[in-house]
């Protein structure tokens, strides 16, 4: 019954209920909840609990049906790991709305409810604060914040019970003067068992009042936004539910988080903006969708927003609002929009700096430097996992691969990877990492996660790098000194072919259909095309530049970009004829390249300039130069989730 777990642990497990996202099993919101934790949730008959009723309301707004996975929450984090994080459900209602609560695995909605500890006493006593208890006895639960708090007060005698419910039982039979327990539990007990005889007063103080959010798996940003929008719209219903379950109103508002301001902003948004940008900003048209400002403009989103709102975008049909809305009101709209930004899938650039032994990380949209992460000596190859969560860096002189959490930007592991690892590649599902060992004439295969070495594949002399075909059936490894390319089947890790190319093959790229491989041959100053089926060189042409290093294909496969170390440029070739169409000067030792997922940006390390150059692939213009560490080598563009 109520109060069973109104302890510090239950604080975390404020309650549960979730909604499902990913599910193309359309129409279902999968919610996890505690089967026996009223007033929050219950799988039994009778009251279902606030979070379950809320889950139903949220599901209805999403035009889905709620389905429940029941799991006890005595140990909240374990419950989350066993349910939500095991993909048994998609939403968990009732988590602390704090950025430091399991930030590596969870994404939280904005707070939708305030709860906290409260003082319960017979209404007749007229108790309004702890001070009024003076000399009396107060029931508390073992190891609860109230117990600790009262331990410091000499004027109040604390009587400890195993849980909130027992504390309330003691109060009900008159054994104590008051109970200092979890407010919702006290309120529900009062409503269901004591006919409202108690008066329940929230108590302000550090660790006593909490804001409650719903949690989802990190990466389920789209569903999080939907749930959050629904919660925002359901504010009146939530207030009514809390009243129905007897929850006392929250004490002093928690530290300013802008939530009230955001709520006001939401109303203003709906009144003035929703006709074109949809109610609660939940726009179905990407062009009108203001939940993507951060994703599009990074930290520049606010400035763009302010300008567009104040001045309008007259030729786009957006009126200016300066005469209608004050800067304060516009600011509150921004805070509302901030609360609904889609945060997953932010594109970040990870750049290895060979001399400064670090990785610099940038927000691709704005070019802002997010972090400089020290790694092992001489970092070179860099690759992101398909799920956007992990980045692998070959720290060549340390003979290891450094593993970076792409969201938190912290080193989480180092894996032995054979001698002198240089180029890196992953198989399609991200379960095998291929590290090219320049001086071992081999490729080391590591199991991911874990890093167990599962194979060593002999290749040619001075292997440089490896790339995977889009269909996942071929891994190509270039050998700089034996002047050939070796093809490996990543499903068996067997070498299945070898093609001799021109001198010093380095960067490679498969065509979208995986049937052709483009190879830059540095000393021959040519690009070679291999027919993958026959292993024959079918085309070869000079690039016009000196020392071609890396190749990239446009998304439609029509253009090829080739970076050049000596001539310091990127040349644009017709991918069919290999005719050179343009040269874009970037700087000395233009080295490895990455492209944005949309193909509209090309990122090139420029080693001797200590920069990363950003090229607009449509206009061919250099649009940005990002300062890097010393001697930048590789770059990976990763959609971080």
């Amino acid at each position: 019954m109520s109060g069973r777990r109104a302890t510090a642990a239950a604080l975390v497990a404020l309650a549960l209920a979730l909604a499902p996202p990913a599910a193309p099993a359309a129409g279902v919101l999968r919610v996890c909840a505690d089967p026996d934790n009223l007033p929050f949730s219950s799988a039994g008959r009778g009251d279902r609990g606030l979070y379950v009723e809320l889950a139903e309301l949220v599901a209805a707004r999403l035009h889905r049906r709620a389905e429940y996975t029941w799991w006890r929450t005595d140990y909240a984090k374990r419950a989350l790991r066993s349910t939500l994080l095991a993909h048994d459900c998609d939403v968990f209602f009732g988590l602390p709305a704090r950025g430091d609560f399991m930030p590596g695995s969870l994404t939280l909605t904005g707070a939708f409810l305030d709860v906290g500890y409260a003082l319960a006493a017979p209404a007749a006593r007229g108790l309004t604060s702890l001070d009024g208890v003076g000399g009396g006895s107060v029931a508390v639960a073992f190891r609860s914040p109230p117990q600790l708090l009262l331990a410091e007060r000499a004027d109040i005698r604390a009587v400890t019970f195993r849980g909130d419910e027992e504390a309330l039982d003691a109060l009900a039979r008159g054994a104590v003067d008051a109970a200092f327990v979890w407010g919702p539990v006290a309120g529900y007990y009062n409503r269901t068992r004591l006919g409202g005889r108690l008066r329940i007063v929230p108590v302000a103080g550090e660790g006593l009042q909490w804001r409650v959010a719903a949690g989802l798996r990190k990466g389920d940003a789209a569903l999080r936004a939907e749930v959050e929008t629904a919660l925002a719209a359901l504010a009146p219903e939530i207030t009514a539910l809390a009243a129905r379950y007897g929850f006392p109103a929250a004490a002093a508002p928690p530290p300013a988080t802008g939530a009230n301001d955001a709520a006001a902003g939401r109303t203003t948004f709906n009144q003035h903006c929703a006709r074109c940008h949809s109610p609660n900003a939940a726009s179905p048209e990407p062009s009108q969708d203001l939940r993507r400002l951060t994703r599009r403009y990074g930290s520049g989103g606010r400035e763009r927003f302010d300008t567009a709102v104040a001045e309008g975008r007259p030729d786009k049909g957006m009126p200016g609002w300066r005469e209608v809305l004050t800067p304060e009101v516009i600011g509150s709209i921004w805070r509302f929009l901030e609360s609904v930004q889609v945060t997953g899938g932010e594109l970040r650039l990870f750049v290895t700096n060979e001399r400064s032994n670090d990785v610099t990380v940038y927000e691709a949209a704005s070019g802002r430097l997010l972090a400089t992460i020290p790694v092992g000596r001489r970092p070179r190859g860099v690759v992101g996992s398909p799920d956007g969560r992990t980045v692998f860096v070959a720290s060549s002189d340390a003979d290891e691969v450094t593993v970076i959490d792409a969201a938190r930007l912290a080193v989480v592991a180092t894996l032995p990877a054979g001698r002198d690892p240089e180029g890196l590649a992953l198989n399609r599902d991200g379960t095998r990492l291929y590290a090219v060992n320049e001086n071992e004439q081999a490729v080391t295969v590591l199991e991911i996660p874990g890093g167990r070495r599962v194979a060593t594949i002999p290749v040619g002399t001075e292997p440089e790098t490896a790339v995977l075909s889009p269909d996942g059936t071929r891994l190509a490894v270039s050998n700089e000194t034996s002047n050939d390319v070796v093809f490996i089947d990543p499903r068996t890790d067997a070498v299945v072919g070898r093609t001799v190319v021109a001198r010093n093959p380095r960067g490679m790229r498969f065509s979208g259909d995986s049937r052709r491989l483009y190879v830059a041959c540095e000393q021959a100053h040519v690009v070679v095309v291999i027919d993958v089926a026959s292993l024959r060189v079918v085309q070869s042409a000079p690039t016009g530049g000196e020392r071609p290093v890396d190749v990239r294909l446009s998304r439609d496969g029509s253009r090829l970009w080739v970076s050049h170390g000596l001539s310091g440029d990127v040349r644009v070739l017709d991918a069919a004829t290999l005719e050179v169409q343009a040269a874009i000067a970037v700087g000395p030792r233009a080295w490895w390249m990455a492209a944005s997922p949309e193909g509209d940006r090309l990122y090139v390390t420029v080693g001797r300039a200590n920069e990363v150059v950003v090229i607009d692939t449509v206009s061919g213009a250099v649009v940005r130069r990002l300062p890097a560490g010393t001697l930048p080598w590789g770059v990976a563009a990763v959609e971080v989730r």
């Binding site: 707004r61 939907e226 009144q271 939940a282 007259p314 009126p319």
Partner: protein, 565 residues
């Protein structure tokens, strides 16, 4: 060729109704006016395509309209020329060879970029009007122009209304004798609506009828204070004309702003504050612009029950008497039958789920409002059905005198709504409600194509759809109903049963109504495709997303004929 008039005789009781629908100058097989005829029946006597052979319909030709988004145009066919417009103002008016689709001329006015900020509900354009060698085009920028039908050359250009106040023309004008009559949209921007009649030869204004009466005029006292000045009542839909009675009919739009408390008490005890002539059916003497009678379906509107829905004129037998009536499937959810000579109310029944009113008082014509469904200023009013998009929006219905049924594209969406009193700023939306339109009505479907018996006042059949915003309808003597949907599907149904007989995917959502015409013994069916852009944005949320996912934006005219057996 079987003449249309001869065919009509096969349905003797309906002869009068059909005779009325044929304008004197029209040739059989043409589609000379937006609604097919001045009575807006969208009924065609053509019958070569019927239930037995419609499965052989194939694309004959396609015309790309040169704009994407929100195509709403009904083409005209006069002689062997087809006239069709694109969205955006229009960006293009085309005159094409109706047999093969070759472009004869194109008129592309310079409509200002970004004008959508002055158009409440998107940049749709519903088509042109034709008479005596001239094509008349209303434009988003508030101009009405006359073109030479042979060349597309501009003959005159008359500004009707200043678009920068939030006033745009989206519908074709109505042609009566030597007049061209147009209204405009703008009820969301605090315009004061009017109809203007111009001389077809010169473009000079002959009369103007304000739909919100000024001081000293009858009905002025239905407005609180100065609210009439920004009172709305914009006439953005389609007119009908009865030449025998010499009466012009128009539905008027919602009052402005949506918050009724600005215009009166804001409660259902609104007394005299009915806000005439908004959300009203008007019968007008076309020679003078004088109102002959009026019938207001939603007095003191607070829901945006914008009553511009087209008025279908028909002669039907009611209680043993042949009556000259008009039909209106009102945005507010009631299907009205009025005596079109006098405005007398003959019937009013809900044709979809309606909960804001329990019925209509047959004596006063006023809706009997529910206790708790009028949105006020302090708390959201929950679950109002229908929502602001209405039980039926602008997409036209059709009436088939052979089946006696009206084919209506209906909506089944509800809303939560809270009003707020806006401050007026010229050219800005003059409404600030907090709205949630993302609500499906009872039954779980979001739309339904229904066949309504206007005499018995009941639904004969219905085809529910799990996405909203069906296209307008066409019905034919071949026993067929044609309409599109938001996925881009274009369908032929059995007019008696609603059974699906044929479907073709046009690749983008269809809002516009189809037409049919005949040339050299070949019957054609034509429809414009191009998904609505603004409606999913207004709804937002999961429903909006499903509409957007249903099809991409587009802009093309598809023309079909029968393939050989």
């Amino acid at each position: 060729m079987i003449s249309a008039v001869t065919r009509l005789r096969t349905a003797p009781a309906l002869l009068l109704a059909l005779a009325l629908t044929l304008p004197a100058a029209a040739q059989p097989g043409e589609w000379p006016v937006y609604g097919g005829d001045p009575a807006n029946t969208r009924y065609s006597p053509l019958a070569r395509i019927d239930a037995g052979n419609v499965s052989r319909l194939r694309v004959a030709w396609v015309l790309q309209l040169g704009s994407l988004r929100s195509q709403e145009s009904t083409p005209l066919v006069v002689g062997d020329t087809l006239y069709v417009t694109s969205s955006f103002g229009p960006r293009n008016v085309f005159a094409v060879d109706a047999r093969r689709g070759r472009v004869r001329w194109r008129y592309s006015p310079d409509v200002p970029a970004g004008i959508e900020q002055f158009a409440c509900c998107d940049v749709g354009h519903r088509g042109v009007a034709y008479a005596r060698g001239r094509v008349f085009v209303g434009r988003l920028d508030g101009h009405l122009v006359a073109l030479d039908a042979a060349t597309g050359r501009e003959l005159w250009d008359t500004p009707i209304v200043d678009y920068t106040q939030g006033a745009v023309i989206t519908s074709p004008p109505t042609l009566v004798k030597n007049l061209v009559i147009t209204g405009f949209g703008g009820g969301e921007y605090g315009v004061r609506g009017f109809l203007a009649a111009l001389d077809q030869d010169s473009g000079r204004e002959v009369w103007r009828l304000w739909t919100v009466p000024g001081p000293g005029e009858p009905g002025h006292d239905t407005w609180k204070g100065d609210s009439w000045k920004l009172g709305g009542g914009a006439v953005w839909g389609i007119g009908s004309y009865d030449p025998a009675l010499n009466l012009l009919y128009y539905g008027t739009g919602n009052p402005s702003p949506w918050a009724a408390s600005v215009r009166g008490p804001g409660t259902r005890n609104y007394g005299r504050f009915t806000n005439l002539y908004t959300a009203t059916t008007l019968a007008i003497d076309p020679d003078t612009g004088r109102i002959v009678w009026h019938f207001q379906s939603t007095p003191h509107d607070a829901w945006d029950f914008d009553g511009i829905n087209e008025l279908v004129l028909a002669d039907v037998e009611i209680d043993g008497r042949l009556r000259q009536v008009l039909f209106k499937a009102d945005r507010n959810g009631f299907f009205y039958v009025l005596d079109r000579r006098t405005g007398a109310l003959l019937a009013a029944r809900p044709f979809v789920n309606v909960n804001w009113a329990t019925g209509v008082d047959m004596t006063t014509g006023r809706p009997q409002e529910a206790d708790d469904k009028r949105p006020g200023l302090t708390t959201p009013t929950k679950n109002i059905c229908p929502n602001t998009l209405g039980a039926k929006n602008w997409q036209p219905m059709s009436y088939n005198p052979r089946t006696g049924l009206v084919y209506i594209p209906t909506l089944n969406l509800c809303m939560d709504m809270q009003q707020a009193e806006p401050a007026y700023r010229r050219g800005k939306l003059y409404l600030t409600p907090d709205l949630d339109l993302d609500r499906v009505g009872p039954g779980g479907h979001m739309a339904e194509l229904i066949a309504w018996d206007p005499v018995r006042q009941q639904k004969r059949w219905g085809n529910p759809d799990d996405l909203p915003w069906l296209g307008g309808t066409l019905t034919t003597a071949g026993g067929l109903v044609f309409h599109g949907d938001v996925r881009g599907g274009f369908k032929a149904l059995d007019a008696m049963t609603g059974r699906l007989l044929w479907e073709f995917s046009t690749g983008s959502g269809i809002s516009a109504a189809p037409i049919t015409y005949e040339l050299d013994g070949t019957q054609y069916v034509a429809v414009v495709s191009g998904r609505t852009f603004s409606v999913p944005l207004m709804i937002g949320g999961p429903i909006g997303s499903r509409m957007v996912d249903a099809s991409p934006q587009g802009g093309a005219l598809f023309v079909f004929t029968l393939a050989p057996p």
